[in-house]
């Protein structure tokens, strides 16, 4: 089933934020927003849950650390203990630099990968919505009605009154 949504473009961050706030108060559903730079406050209005990336990062780092230490111990004590300059097989201090670097490497790569996958930023992807200027100097707000029984003209008027430089509505499937 499809539904009709409003797209409003703003030229100014402040108007954009104010508009979003008003729409929310008016009981309109804020679907999404597209901005040329991170606009603070909008994420709250959109009910974006705090990201779980830090945990992913931590997990990655832990994996890297464990892998590095285990492999170094295994290869230099269990698999083939060699007398290197009379040093003990368990040369922990000497194992640390590699362990640290591997930790950082894993953490970093996992974080980046997680970001890309979660936000489905992948090679060859088409942007979900190509709205004019949202990567330049326009702020786009996507609004929809909670219930079908609502006056579109009114909403558009509202958005325009809130300073939208452009405003139109589209059909999109709500699924």
């Amino acid at each position: 089933m499809t539904r009709r949504i409003h797209v409003a473009l703003f030229a100014d961050e402040a108007q954009f934020l104010a508009a979003a706030r008003t729409c929310r108060e008016r009981g309109l559903a804020l679907l999404d927003a597209f901005t040329p730079y991170p606009v603070h406050g909008i994420d709250v209005l959109l009910d974006v849950r705090p990201s779980r990336l830090p945990w992913v990062c931590l997990a990655g780092g832990a994996t890297g650390l464990a892998a590095a230490l285990l492999f170094q111990y295994w290869s230099s004590i269990t698999d083939w203990p060699l007398n290197v300059g009379g040093k003990p097989f368990d040369s922990l201090p000497a194992f640390l630099p590699v362990a640290f670097e591997t930790t950082v490497l894993f953490a970093g790569l996992v974080t980046a990968a997680a970001l890309w996958l979660r936000s489905s930023l992948l090679p060859g992807r088409k942007p979900r919505r190509e709205l004019p200027g949202t990567l330049d100097d326009r702020f786009a707000l996507l609004v929809a009605h909670k219930d079908a029984a609502n006056d579109f003209a009114e909403t558009r008027a509202l958005l325009e009154s809130l300073g939208a430089v452009a405003c139109w509505d589209e059909m999109e499937d709500a699924s």
Partner: protein, 480 residues
């Protein structure tokens, strides 16, 4: 990026009262224009140097390491000197993008993109040398612990050279990822602006970036996380590089002061290099409004600060040599200062310790020519620092019978030049095809300043005057 409230007196980071659209066109327009004659000259000479270097390296790999001036006692000279030099250069980029990000230094936004690019190119130059300095570079892959039919025979985890492999590898990867993630929004913008093939390419590279608020939220978290990883990484990398020497038993190498000493040295040389490139870029690419005197001053202060620490490190070395009472140590430093390579020591001290002190004077900081000269001196000096550490320690160690000298061959000089060729070729290409300035971040800065620092608006409106830039400097000093 996480928002902060700048002090009300803070004048704008970006001059000339830019609109968002204005920023976009300022940053992206040059990429649409044909390259200037100046760019061509720079590019061709860089490419020529690169070609020369390639020929030298090719010859050396075909004929043997003997084509370098090394001998039975001096086993490393230009090769590892260049390696450490370039790694050092690389550090500034990460520092600016990561550390200053964590420290909320907003002025970083104008330069972090190019600084990060510089890091990546510098690390590429650096990574070249450990490979070509091998007697059998075609077996370089043996330094990786991969399964093999030899037992399997793994690698020596105790060798600092192996630590280098992991440190440099990680450093390069993380820097690249960080840089690329930072590029995504601007790549999106590029995609929007571009036509035809470039649109396809940028479309592919921008991973379908659309600036959705949800993505932005995650994006910022990821940036902070990577920054938080990159900060200890950058410290570890040069510490590891320094252990190539610190863990050896050679007098002049075997010292615990090396890790901090090297890290500071790296930041020092790195900032000098960034500033140098910045001074060129703002002229060539007409970015004076984005890379302002304020940036120059901030950088100058970091340089004079780190330069002084480097001086302290030199002093510490000498003191420890004397205080240790170890005759080999004492001799190593006596020989370093007054021996056959004393001249190099002189160059090092002058360029790294004395020259930067001039930056205490505002007049010097004001004259871009002087600053430019000093940045060049610092880079020369830092190259010589590594040369002095490596060669003057090696050529006369324990047994007098084994003492020798060292003279570089043309091949080595050509290779050094070639590494600069590689660096500048890549950098110039970067200026041509990618936005030198993180437009989205600048926009954020400008916007937030406009909304949160009305006072500054006025200043900006008046335009730049000596007074307010001077005032601006004070505030930056407070900040930096």
């Amino acid at each position: 990026m996480a928002e902060i409230h700048a002090p009300a007196v803070r004048p704008p980071t970006i001059l000339g009262d830019k609109t968002l659209g204005g920023i976009t066109s300022d940053v992206f327009a040059p990429l649409d224009r044909r390259p200037t004659r100046l760019w061509w000259w720079a590019f061709l000479s860089a490419a020529a140097a690169l070609l020369l270097g390639t020929v030298c390296v090719g010859y050396q790999i075909m004929v043997g390491i003997g084509t370098w001036g090394l001998n039975r006692t001096v086993g490393w000279a230009f090769d590892i000197t260049n390696f450490v030099f370039w790694v050092g250069i690389g550090h500034a980029g990460t520092l600016i993008s990561a550390v200053l990000l964590l420290f909320r230094q907003r002025w970083r936004t104008s330069i972090n993109r190019s600084a990060e690019a510089m890091t990546i190119f510098a690390v590429m130059c650096a990574g070249l040398f450990p490979v070509i300095h091998m007697g059998r570079p075609w077996l370089a892959f043996w330094v990786f612990p991969y399964p093999n039919a030899r037992g399997p025979l793994w690698v020596n985890w105790r060798s600092p050279l192996l630590w280098d492999v992991f440190a440099i590898g990680t450093y390069f990867t993380i820097s690249l990822v960080f840089w690329y993630i930072g590029l995504l929004p601007d790549l999106g913008t590029l995609r929007e602006r571009a036509r035809g093939l470039r649109k396809k390419v940028f479309g592919w590279l921008s991973l379908g970036w659309d600036g959705s608020a949800r993505t932005w939220a995650r994006y910022e978290v990821a940036c902070v996380l990577l920054a938080a990883l990159a900060t200890p990484l950058v410290v570890s990398v040069h510490s590891v590089v320094s252990s190539d020497f610190a863990t050896a038993i050679l007098p002049g190498w075997h010292t615990t002061v090396f890790p901090p000493y090297f890290v500071v040295g790296a930041v020092f040389s790195g900032f000098a290099m960034v500033l140098m490139l910045m001074l060129i870029a703002r002229k060539v690419m007409h970015l004076e409004d984005y890379m302002t005197m304020r940036h120059v001053h901030a950088m100058c202060k970091v340089i004079v600060f780190t330069g002084s620490i480097v001086g302290l490190a030199y002093g510490t070395e000498l003191f420890m040599a004397w205080y240790s009472g170890n005759p080999y140590e004492k001799f190593a430093f006596a020989n370093r200062m007054r021996g056959p390579f004393g001249w190099a020591y002189g160059v090092m001290v002058f360029c790294n310790v004395i020259a930067p002190q001039l930056l205490w004077f505002r007049k010097v900081r004001w004259s871009l020519g002087a600053v430019f000269l000093i940045t060049i001196l610092v880079n020369v000096g830092m190259w010589f620092e590594r040369f002095v550490i490596i060669v003057s320690s090696l050529h006369r160690d324990f047994l007098p019978s084994a003492w020798t000298g060292y003279v570089p061959t043309w091949i080595e000089l050509g290779t050094l030049l070639g590494s600069f060729g590689l660096f500048f070729t890549l950098f110039l290409l970067f200026c041509r095809f990618l936005p030198m300035i993180a437009a989205s971040e600048i926009k954020a800065v400008v916007a937030s300043e406009r909304h949160h620092a009305p006072v500054a608006e006025g200043v900006a409106a008046e335009g730049v005057t000596t007074e307010n830039v001077a005032a601006e400097c004070e505030t930056v000093e407070a900040a930096a």
